[in-house]
C-alpha cells in the first residue's frame, strides 16, 4: 500500500522537499537546478494564525485604553502582568514538556489580555498571575495546546479566580477615582437594589465593573474591526446579543418592575466583551455556520436565565463556558449536507 501511495501524483512528498533536477537529454542547454516539490495548492491566501492573534490584540486596544482611562495606570500594569504571566507560563510549560516553543503564535498574549479585561480593577497582582497560570496551564496546555482546548482559556482562568477568591473578585471601584471607593456594578445594583444605571454611562463605560467590560462603545469599535477582518464569525455576536435582547424583553414585558429592560441587558456586565471577543474565540466555538447560530442562541438563553434567576448578578462567563462544552456536539450535529446530498434533480 505504501508503494501505491508513493506513486501518486503530487501526493508523493510528505513535506516540501528539494529534488535535484535531472539533466535534460534534449539538445537545448540542460537546466541543472533544484525545484521545490510540494502538494497543491501552490498559492495561499495571506492568512496566518499569528496574524489573526495580532489582529485580536489590536481589536482589544480601544477597550484597553478605555480601561486605563477609567481605572488608571493600575489597569495598564494589570494588563502587562497578565500578558507576561500567560506568555511565561506557556514558554515554561513548553520547556518542561520539551515541546517546540509556541509563544510566537500570539495566543498567550490574547489570553492574558482578555483575562485581565474581565477582572475587577482592584484585584491584587498575584491573583492575576495565578489566573493567567491556570488559564494557560489548565485551560490550554493540558488539552494539548492551542487548537485542542475545549474551554476558552481566559474564561477558565477567570472562573478559577472567581471560585477561589470570591470577595476580591466582586469588589468594584468607581471609575476615575483616586482612592478606590467600593461601589456596585450596574448589574449588581439592579439585582440587589433595583436601581438602574443611566444608559449613557453604560454605553461609555463610566460605571463600576471589570477593567475592560464597562465600555460598550470601545468593545463594539474593536469588535466591528474583527468582524470586518473576518477574524470573528459575525453570526455569534448577532445571535448571542439578539437572543439576550429578545429573551430579556420577554421577561421585561411580563414584569417591568422586576426585570431589567433589554437595553440594560445588552450594555451591562461582560456581555459585549463576551459576545465580541470570548464567544468568537475560534478554537472553542463551532466550525459550522449553523453551529455558530446555535452557539449564540444557547449562550444568550443561558445568560438571561443566570442573570434573572441565578444567585449571581452576571452570567456571561458561565454561558460561554457551558456552550464551549457543547461545541464538539454542536459540530457533530451541524455537519453541512454534502454538495448534491439534499437536492436531487
Amino acid at each position: 500500500m505504501e508503494e501505491k501511495i508513493q506513486k501518486v501524483p503530487a501526493g508523493e512528498s510528505q513535506m516540501p522537499k528539494v529534488a535535484p533536477a535531472k539533466t535534460s537529454e534534449s539538445p537545448s542547454k540542460p537546466e541543472k537546478r533544484a525545484f521545490i516539490l510540494s502538494s497543491s495548492p501552490h498559492i495561499q491566501a495571506e492568512e496566518d494564525v499569528a496574524k489573526i492573534m495580532r489582529a485580536v490584540v489590536y481589536a482589544l486596544l480601544p477597550t484597553a485604553v478605555f480601561g486605563i482611562y477609567f481605572f488608571g495606570w493600575r489597569a495598564l500594569v494589570m494588563m502587562l502582568v497578565g500578558i507576561a504571566a500567560a506568555v511565561l507560563t506557556e514558554a515554561l510549560l513548553n520547556l518542561v514538556q520539551k515541546k517546540p516553543q509556541t509563544i510566537s503564535d500570539g495566543s498567550a498574549v490574547v489570553t492574558g489580555l482578555l483575562l485581565v479585561l474581565t477582572l475587577p480593577p482592584s484585584l491584587p497582582y498575584w491573583m492575576i498571575i495565578v489566573g493567567a497560570f491556570v488559564a494557560i496551564f489548565i485551560g490550554k496546555q493540558l488539552f494539548g495546546g492551542l487548537g485542542y482546548n475545549i474551554f476558552n482559556p481566559a474564561l477558565l482562568g477567570r472562573a478559577f479566580l472567581q471560585a477561589s477568591f470570591p470577595i476580591p473578585m466582586t469588589t468594584w471601584t468607581m471609575p476615575r477615582t483616586i482612592d478606590a471607593i467600593t461601589t456596585a456594578t450596574p448589574l449588581g445594583s439592579f439585582k440587589f437594589e433595583k436601581t438602574l444605571t443611566p444608559y449613557l454611562n453604560l454605553f461609555m463605560g463610566n460605571v463600576g465593573g471589570c477593567v475592560g467590560e464597562t465600555s460598550a462603545l470601545a468593545i463594539i469599535i474593536g469588535g466591528l474591526f474583527l468582524l470586518y477582518k473576518k477574524y470573528a464569525d459575525w453570526r455569534i455576536p448577532v445571535s448571542y446579543l439578539t437572543t439576550v435582547a429578545i429573551f430579556g424583553s420577554l421577561f421585561w414585558l411580563i414584569n417591568p418592575a422586576k426585570y431589567p429592560d433589554p437595553i440594560f441587558h445588552l450594555f451591562s456586565g461582560g456581555l459585549m466583551l463576551g459576545a465580541f471577543f470570548m464567544a468568537t474565540d475560534m478554537v472553542t466555538t463551532p466550525v459550522t455556520p449553523k453551529g455558530s447560530w446555535i452557539f449564540g442562541i444557547g449562550a444568550g438563553i443561558i445568560l438571561v436565565i443566570i442573570r434573572l434567576f441565578g444567585g449571581l448578578p452576571e452570567g456571561v462567563m458561565y454561558s460561554i463556558l457551558l456552550m464551549n462544552a457543547f461545541t464538539p456536539l454542536i459540530n457533530r450535529y451541524t455537519r453541512p449536507k454534502f454538495f448534491g446530498e439534499a437536492k436531487h434533480v
Binding site: 501511495i5 533536477a21 497543491s40 501552490h42 496566518d48 494564525v49 475560534m282 478554537v283 455556520p289 446530498e341
Partner: protein, 443 residues
C-alpha cells in the same frame, strides 16, 4: 446584474494579465519528443511501432483496447530512438516513445472522414474522436468519445462548454475562445449532434468579457447556444460547480454530470473535436500557457505533445534565476515538477513557473478551528475533520464525513491560516480508502 455562481469557494489573485493579451504562438517543431503511452484515464496504450522505425506526424504509435480507451499519435516526423520509461509530469516513470526529428515534416490526416460532418452518423463521429486520440484537455484527460457516449438510460438534455478557466495564471482557454471562436462553434454543433441535445451553454468567468462578447457574436444566429458570464470565483470551472451555477442542478455525491442530464467539455477539447472531424487532424498539439513570475516571456504556446518542458520554457525566454517551483497545470491543483525533462502531455493546460517569492515555507500551526476551510469548501465538507481523520488513520470516520466527495480543488488549504496541508492529507486518506475498497472487492 448579479452573475450566476455556486456557493462558497475562494478568491485567489488572478495573475492572468501576464499572458491574457498574448496571442497564441506556434512553437517551432522540437528536435525530439517523448510521447507517453498513457495519457488518459483508462488502460495504457500498447505501442504499435518499433525502435528505429520512421514515423510521420499523426501516425498511430499506440492503441488501447477496452471501452475507456484512446489513441496515441506521433507528433513529429522522424525516427523512433527508443521506447522506454521516462519521467512523467505526474510523478511516475512511464513508457514513452522517444522520436528524433528527421526528414521533411509531414502530417498524416485521419482517414475515412465524412464529406460533411452534418451527414455523418453519431457512431462515425465518435469513432473519429477515438481515432484522433482526443481526451479532456482541461486536466482530467478522460477519453472524450466515452464522455460523449452516455450509457443507455441516461438522458442528456444539456451540453455545457467549460470556458471558466478559474485557475489563476492560466489563459490558454481564454485565447482559444478569442482566436478560434469559429472552430469552437463547429465543435459545439458536432457535440450537440452526437449528444442529440437541444441546448448548449458556454460558461465563462466574467474576467473574460471580451471572450463573452466574441462568442456571443459568433453564436448570434444559433438561438440554442447561450453564453453565460459567471462570477469570478474559484473553483467555478469544476464541473459540478459549473453545472450548479448555470442550471442550478446538483450532481449527487459520487455521481457524474450525466446523472443530472449534462455533459461538460472544455474549450480546447471542443476545438480539437472540430479539427478532427472537419479536417482530420489528430490530437498532436495543444495550447499551453507558460507563465509565472519566474519565466522571462510568458506566452500562450501551441506546442506539440511530447515536447520537453525544457524546450518549451526555452522558447519562452527561459527561467529567471530565482525560479523555485515549476507547476504543471494551475497553482491550485497543478503538480510540482522536479525535472524539466518531462514532456508536455495532453493534459498540460499550463506551466506555471514561480519564483522563491511564492515558495517560502510557511509555519504550520495546529488547527485553530477557525472554520475558514468549512466556509470555503464548495463540496460542503469539513476539511479540517477530513484531514485530521485521514492523518490519524480513522478512515471510517473520514469516509462517513464524505472524504470521497472531495474534488481536491485546494480551496480549503488556500484559506487555512494554520497552513495545514489539508489537500495532501485528504488525498492520502482517499487513496487509502480506495485501496481498501479495491482489496475487499478482489477478495
Amino acid at each position: 446584474m448579479s452573475l450566476k455562481t455556486f456557493a462558497k469557494g475562494v478568491h485567489p489573485a488572478e495573475f492572468k494579465s501576464l499572458s491574457e493579451d498574448k496571442p497564441i504562438e506556434k512553437m517551432p517543431l522540437p528536435s525530439e519528443v517523448f510521447i507517453p503511452l498513457q495519457q488518459h484515464i483508462g488502460a495504457p496504450c500498447t505501442p504499435v511501432v518499433e525502435k528505429g522505425q520512421m514515423v510521420k506526424t499523426g501516425q498511430v504509435i499506440g492503441k488501447s483496447g477496452g471501452f475507456v480507451s484512446s489513441t496515441i499519435h506521433a507528433t513529429i516526423t522522424g525516427k523512433i530512438k527508443t521506447i522506454e520509461k521516462f519521467p512523467h509530469p505526474l510523478g511516475i516513470n512511464v513508457p514513452m516513445v522517444n522520436i528524433m526529428a528527421e526528414g521533411e515534416e509531414e502530417l498524416l490526416p485521419l482517414e475515412n472522414l465524412p464529406e460533411k460532418w452534418e451527414n455523418a452518423s453519431r457512431e462515425e463521429i465518435l469513432d473519429i474522436i477515438l481515432r484522433a486520440g482526443i481526451v479532456g484537455l482541461g486536466g482530467a484527460a478522460f477519453p472524450t468519445q466515452v464522455k460523449l457516449n452516455p450509457p443507455k438510460g441516461k438522458s442528456i438534455d444539456t451540453f455545457i462548454v467549460n470556458g471558466c478557466e478559474c485557475e489563476p495564471f492560466l489563459t490558454a482557454d481564454h485565447r482559444m475562445m478569442l482566436e478560434q471562436s469559429q472552430e469552437l462553434l463547429t465543435g459545439i454543433r458536432i457535440i450537440m449532434k452526437v449528444l442529440n441535445v437541444k441546448r448548449t451553454f458556454i460558461g465563462i468567468e466574467a474576467n473574460k468579457m471580451n471572450a463573452v462578447d466574441t462568442l456571443r457574436q459568433a453564436t448570434k444566429s444559433f438561438s440554442e447556444i447561450t453564453v453565460v458570464p459567471l462570477k469570478v470565483k474559484y473553483p467555478q470551472g469544476a464541473e459540478k460547480m459549473l453545472i450548479d451555477a448555470i442550471l442550478n442542478r446538483h450532481v449527487p455525491p459520487g455521481g457524474l454530470p450525466l446523472d443530472v442530464g449534462v455533459v461538460v467539455q472544455n474549450v480546447g477539447t471542443t476545438i480539437a473535436i472540430a479539427q478532427a472531424v472537419t479536417a482530420g487532424k489528430p490530437l498532436i498539439e495543444r495550447v499551453v500557457t507558460v507563465t509565472g513570475d519566474a519565466i522571462n516571456e510568458p506566452k500562450n504556446v501551441l506546442v506539440r505533445i511530447g515536447t520537453s518542458f525544457q524546450q518549451l520554457l526555452d522558447f519562452c525566454g527561459g527561467l529567471t534565476n530565482n525560479a523555485a517551483k515549476i507547476i504543471m497545470g494551475g497553482p491550485m491543483m497543478g503538480v510540482a515538477q522536479s525535472s524539466l525533462q518531462v514532456p508536455v502531455i495532453k493534459a498540460t493546460s499550463g506551466i506555471v513557473c514561480l519564483s522563491d517569492k511564492y515558495t517560502q515555507a510557511k509555519p504550520i500551526y495546529p488547527c485553530i478551528q477557525c472554520g475558514n476551510c468549512v466556509s470555503a469548501c464548495p463540496m460542503n465538507l469539513l476539511p479540517t475533520r477530513l484531514a485530521r481523520y485521514a492523518e490519524v488513520g480513522n478512515l471510517i470516520m473520514a469516509e462517513n464525513l464524505g472524504i470521497l466527495n472531495c474534488i481536491e480543488c485546494g480551496s480549503c488549504a488556500f484559506v487555512c491560516p494554520a497552513h495545514i496541508p489539508l489537500v495532501q492529507q485528504i488525498r492520502l486518506g482517499k487513496l487509502q480508502i480506495n485501496e481498501l475498497k479495491r482489496k475487499s472487492k478482489s477478495i
